[in-house]
Symmetry: C2
Subunit: 108 residues, 2 copies
Amino acid sequence: MDIMPRADGHVLVLPRAPSRNILDIDPGDMAAVMATTQRVARAQMAAFGADGITVQHFCEGAGGQVVFHTHVHVLPRHEGVALRPPGHIADASVLERHAEKIRAALSR
Amino acid sequence: MDIMPRADGHVLVLPRAPSRNILDIDPGDMAAVMATTQRVARAQMAAFGADGITVQHFCEGAGGQVVFHTHVHVLPRHEGVALRPPGHIADASVLERHAEKIRAALSR
């Protein structure tokens, strides 16, 4: 879970192997990240009754990257609801509840 | 090229095979899209002297999707330069010039 979620259920998907971003990641690692992103997106649709998903990858500071290990943002979206501004740390209990909903959807 | 570029050199990467978005695309097709996205991102860095790249995938209307064939947005970014607002069609000659710069970088 992103600890500064821009939407409820905002997940980060990342590879185990070190890489900085899309410029240097091994294509096989990127494929694995995207396969996981697909599973997470479907689980978010079910877990949050989402209407859509926004997927973002920020590469280098100018591209929006803050943490320099490759990661993909996966955000459940609802019709007419804008993303929240970045930078607000969520309550740990809220994050845990949302994580549990996603885990339950993934295991179905 | 995105005909409504939010940054100079804004590219769309899409699979040949039909799919709607990340919820239904074949994982192999998604892997191919991302491998191409990596090549495009590197070419954009060189072609535009970019400082970074932003990658976006919008899934369903609530996620920001407007055209319902899977596509990934790849945007060259420069330090301190915000994305332009969406919805403004660029001059065809400008798009062609930017496409040519990317093609040249891809062939190097």
